[in-house]
């Protein structure tokens, strides 16, 4: 066994046509699995509700700021870099503001006193114990 042969030769001389096909097949499988399992559940839309009704649905791809009217006043929602948060809100305890940025599909910030909520959704609707 000549141990000084270039590693490129050592690799290429052991790969037959079918091995290349197998490698290709394996690579395609890995890429498809990655695309399917890693990008499917990323949030791509924010659903903003006011008083229980859908106020508007906005894509996360465009940065913007939205004012949503509620019984106590206006809640301000900001979309930035595929994330969403409630920036300001007239409710007394500010829970939804302190929740910070939402990024994953299914995450939700709810402002009960002002009846405003922001929910992130992915390409498919996920179920949890609340809306099952």
């Amino acid at each position: 066994m000549n141990s000084h042969e270039p590693i490129r030769v050592a690799i290429l001389s052991h790969l037959k046509v079918g091995d290349w096909l197998t490698l290709l097949l394996g690579g395609v499988c890995v890429v498809l699995l990655t695309l399917k399992l890693w990008s499917g559940d990323l949030a791509d839309k924010a659903v903003i509700r006011s008083g229980g009704k859908i106020f508007c649905e906005v894509p996360l791809s465009r940065d913007q700021q939205i004012e949503v009217p509620g019984p106590l006043g206006a809640s301000v929602i900001r979309i930035q870099q595929r994330k969403a948060r409630i920036v300001s809100d007239p409710s007394p305890r500010q829970y939804c503001v302190r929740q910070g940025w939402l990024q994953q599909a299914g995450e939700i910030a709810i402002c009960l006193p002002n009846q405003v909520s922001v929910e992130l959704t992915g390409s498919r609707k996920k179920y949890d114990s609340l809306n099952y």
């Binding site: 690799i11 052991h14 790969l15 197998t22 499988c29 890995v30 699995l33 990655t34 399992l37």
Partner: protein, 204 residues
């Protein structure tokens, strides 16, 4: 058992001067298994695989579960040279003896290894009939590696972590299977370049 042992004892005594094979134990033992050269060979290869398993456990892994699977090099070589039956023996002996060595026999880790090994062997049983003109050990290795993670993920999902969240890890495991499967297959192919010498002397 008793008279069977005596019979072998007689046979061993009469043939002993002509026998150059040394690993036969003390013929006076009443429990003497009638082992063949093939059995010895399988045991030897399983021992090599076991050594590689121990070596591999000493290598730190970036993610639990991502391991090169060096012992599968031995399985691939045995499959190519002595057929599927011998490869299955070597692989399963390695899993059981390895778990005994690491103290994980019948623990979750043991069942993960076992399910991976069984799935690999099932796929290899089919993959060995691929035309050898176009498909070499690298193909066998990649298919076996994918079967290995598939078997393990199935056990993890059905038994250990029944949560869809483990799907996030599948791309990592699949990529690792592709890379390590290719590398192991290349190493196995390299070892089979020059047949003739005993295999145990040439493995790392």
């Amino acid at each position: 058992m008793q008279d069977r042992g005596l019979r072998i004892e007689e046979r061993v005594e009469t043939t002993a001067p002509h026998q150059t094979r040394s690993p036969i134990p003390d013929p006076r033992s009443s429990i003497l298994l009638n082992t063949t050269a093939e059995d010895h060979h399988i045991a030897r290869m399983a021992a090599v695989a076991l050594g590689l398993t121990i070596l591999e456990n000493a290598i730190p892994s970036p993610l639990p579960g991502v391991k090169p699977g060096l012992a599968n090099i031995v399985t691939l070589i045995v499959l190519a040279r002595y057929g599927w039956r011998a490869a299955a023996w070597v692989s399963l002996l390695r899993v059981v003896a390895g778990s005994l060595l690491f103290g994980s026999f019948l623990a979750p880790g043991f069942f993960l290894s076992l399910s991976g090994a069984v799935c690999s062997l099932l796929v290899l049983a089919v993959a060995q009939y691929l035309p050898s003109r176009w498909f070499g050990p690298v193909s066998h290795s990649i298919y076996a590696a994918f079967a290995h993670i598939a078997g393990q993920m199935l056990v993890v999902y059905l038994w250990l972590i029944p949560h869809a969240g483990i799907a996030y890890l599948i791309p990592i495991f699949a990529a690792a299977a592709l890379v390590f499967g290719t590398v192991n297959g290349l190493i196995a192919a390299r070892f089979m370049d020059n047949d003739g010498k005993p295999d145990t002397e040439r493995l790392p």
